[in-house]
Each structure stands twice: as structure tokens, then as C-alpha cells.
């Protein structure tokens, strides 16, 4: 059982701030990494566009719609990945997303929080094939 305050934590001010005032919202033309994925259970959709310069992330944008957790995660991720190399992006784990958000997520909501990372991972697979 998870105590109530941990659920309250889900909607902590910094998370709500990213939800209400999303960073890097939009799309990029000619992005090097571009991918989109939805969570059919709740209808959330996240698209991620990433531009690389000298092998590092120079710009990142997200678009889509969804709950507080998936949107805040996407917003934070666009800040988190700035300056990272492709290898560093490939090394990102689920735990890194939880650390970034500063919360623990139960399995159902973990799918929301991890959707942006899954989108990035799919984009990286497509990049490998290019």
C-alpha cells in the first residue's frame, strides 16, 4: 500500500508547473530524431523532435496531449536531454525518468510517465537505421 502523501507527491508543484507551463512545446522541421507514440489505454499521445549539432542535442520539442504525468515528463525530458550525446540518450533508463521527476510511480501511472522516454527510444532506433 502506498500512503496518501506519496500520491499527493504526484501533483507536486514542480510537476504541475511543467504541466501548466510546458517547456519546449512544439515541433521541429528537419529534426534528426523524430517519433510519436500513444498510450491507447488513456489516449495520451507524445511526439518528440530532437535536433543534433556536433553529435549532441541542440534543440528538443514535444507535442501531444495527455495527463499531468505524461505531459510533465515530456516537458522535463526536453530540458533533461539538452547537450547529451546519442550514446547518452541511448543509456537513459526508466529510473532516470523517475529521478528526473522526483517521484515514484505505481505501474499504471508509470506507463504515463515513461511514455516520453519510450518515444525517444523509438526515435533512436529509427536514427540507427538511417
Amino acid at each position: 500500500m502506498i500512503p496518501g502523501d506519496q500520491v499527493t507527491q504526484l501533483y507536486r508543484e514542480h510537476i504541475l508547473d511543467h504541466y501548466r507551463h510546458p517547456r519546449n512545446q512544439g515541433t521541429l522541421d528537419d529534426a534528426d530524431i523524430s517519433s510519436e507514440m500513444d498510450n491507447p489505454v488513456c489516449g495520451d499521445l507524445v511526439r518528440l523532435d530532437v535536433r543534433l549539432k556536433d553529435g549532441r542535442v541542440s534543440e528538443a520539442r514535444f507535442s501531444g496531449h495527455g495527463c499531468v504525468i505524461s505531459m510533465a515528463s515530456a516537458s522535463m525530458l526536453t530540458e533533461e536531454i539538452l547537450g547529451k550525446t546519442v550514446e547518452e540518450l541511448e543509456a537513459l533508463q526508466d529510473e532516470d525518468v523517475f529521478d528526473m521527476m522526483g517521484i515514484t510511480l505505481r505501474p499504471v501511472r508509470a506507463k504515463c510517465g515513461l511514455l516520453p522516454l519510450r518515444v525517444l527510444q523509438e526515435g533512436l532506433i529509427k536514427l540507427d537505421k538511417k
Partner: protein, 412 residues
Amino acid sequence: MNAQSKLDPIALRADFPILSRQVHGKPLAYLDNAASSQRPRTVIAALDEFYRAHYANIHRGVHTLSEEATAAYEEARDKLAAFIHAPDRRGVIFTRNATEAINLVAYAWGRVNVGPGDRIVVTEMEHHSNLVPWQLLAREVGAELAIVSVTDEGRLDLESLDRLLQGPVKLVAFVHVSNVLGTLNPAQEIVARAHTVGARALVDAAQSVPHLPVDVEALGCDFMAFSGHKMCGPTGSGVLYGRPELLEEMPPFLTGGGMIRRVGRLDATWNDLPWKFEAGTPAIAEAVGLGAAVDYLSAVGMEAVQAHERELTTYALERLGKLRGVHVVGPPAEERSGVVAFTVDSIHPHDLAQVLDLKGVAVRAGHHCAQPLHERLGLRATARASFYLYNTCEELDRLVAGIRKAQDWIGS
């Protein structure tokens, strides 16, 4: 208990042990009954008693336990038959749930009776369980799947049904009560129209049999499917009702032990109804538990259950209707069962459900296994509160308070 009297939800709550637990330090307000209901002590005790004192495999042994278990299992079938007013116990097949019951018809009846160019009619408000099996059948045999539209008010468009019935229709499969809109469809009328053009009619009664009196003979349908776990029964219990003369003609669905009469090296013949469709060791204790659930519901009275849920629905629609930024989908209370789906401006249903959970209020969020309907409504997801005999208006007040809290907290 008098079957005609108004039910007392406070008294009934005492029968359901789980309802006395707390969630996040708050009393549980369980409003997710359309997904699955809770069980009274008598059902839990029936399972316990069966396993402690009578359990063995059925229809096989001559020993005492096997005979007792067989008698209990078959007695449960009689209870189910009486509950839905089935004229013949041979038409009551135990399945795992409504989904399996519908798949049974799609495979065993559909693959023999539906061919290239034939039409299968479903509706836009189907649960995926009464849509996907027909999509597969249509694709496999080259039939056409036609979909009756839903009006903006959340009713079935019967004119669209009539148009679709002009053609080589073999089956009309439709939901009795929508699990999203709560709409109580005119089932008797739809079955009659299907029969007029020589089509068979299947009723998905997963949301009706648990909540209102249902009489298969009065409905006149050829097949009806429902799940035990939504009507105070165990998971893994469900029923397909079929007209025995149709079931007789159908090939079996699942094959193996129990459903055969005689097996040779290269061929086999089938058992009598209903066992022809109950291959393998069935969910014996679950069927017995479902029988106990039917006893419980019958003692309360299905008219009383329906009246109570109507009262709750009327109250919920009134309270939610007054909330700023809250939009309920579906028809007015007098046309629906105890299901209320809604959206809240700028709050995703998942977030709403999470905040409500923090307040001890359990609701469902998502598309409720009805994606085409949500597309029709122009919604990605909704939050859904669904009621049963043990819910109270006080719990609905807590739902409303929780929505307000979410609006304060998350709404910008």
C-alpha cells in the same frame, strides 16, 4: 427481505466486507461497478464452503464428493436459468465471462452461418468484446460489418438500424446497456426488427443482467451473454444463454474432455446440451459462487436494485450538471442504468481518477473498452462512475467534492 420493497443500501453494505476498508485513510467509495462489482459474504462463504466440504471434479466420478460437486454445479445452472427466465436449462452455458460467451457464438455459430457477402450488424456503442469477434469473423468469411450509429444524445439511431437491416443480414449483435453512456437500449424492439428480416439477435447483457430484471423469453433474443463478476459473483464465471434449437445445430467451440459423448481414434461425437459447450474442467466453484450471487440478488429484488440505481443516477446527473466545467455524456436518467461517464475541462481523466482515489473514491478513467464510441463522441477518454446496490448519495457527494478538489489542484 421483501423483493418489492425499496432497498436499504446502508444495511446491504454490511454484507460486503470489502466496503468497510479504507483507502488512503478514507472510507472506500466504490464507484467502479461497471468494471467489476464487489462480493457479499454469502458468495465468499459459498466458495469457502464448497472447497472445504464438497469439492471434486464433476460429471466424472461416482464417489460422493463428485456427486455433491456435480449437484451443486448443476443447481447453480438452474438458479441462473431462473434468474434470466430461461425456458430451458439446456440453453444456459457456463463460460469464463461475457467475452468468452460472445466468442463462442462468433466461432461456433458464426463460422457456419455467416458467409461471403453476408452482413453482421453491431452498434457504435459496443464494448470491444462485442465488436472485435465480429470484426474477425467478417474478415475471415468475407462478410460485411455494418455499424448502427449513435445520436448526439447517446441513443441508438434506430433509423440507421432499419437502413442496415435492408440487406443480407445474418446477425444483429448489440449491447443492452452501454458501459459508457449507461443507455438502456430498446432490446425487445431491436430483436423484433432483426427477426423480421430473418436475422439472429445477440444481446450483450454484461451491464444489464446485474442491474435490472432481464427476461430472455420476453426479449426474444437468440443469444445473450453476461459475466458473473459484475453481479456479485466470482471472476471466471459467466453465462451464454442460447436458444437450444440453435445450440443443437452448432458445432462445438472448445473441444476436449467433458464435451464429448464418444471418442474414437479418428472421430468423436458430442455431448448433450449444455455440456457440449463446456469443454475441460469448468470453473466449478465459481459457478457455485455465481449461484449464491443470484440468490443474494434475488433476495434483494432486481426491481429494487434498478430503482435504487435510478435514484443514484438522477442524483449524480443533477449534482454533476451543476458543476462548472463538467460534461456528462449520455441520455437523461430515466433512459439509463447506473453508469455516468463525464469529462472535466482541462483535467485528464487519469489525473481526476488519481485525485479521487486519494479521497477514497474509486472510479474508472480511460476509454472503457469502447474506443469507437469515444471517437464518435469526439473524446479521447472519460472518467466513469458506476453504481450498484450498495452505493449511497453520500458517496456521490464525495465524488463531487473530489472533482472540486481536482479542479482546485490541477485545473489551471
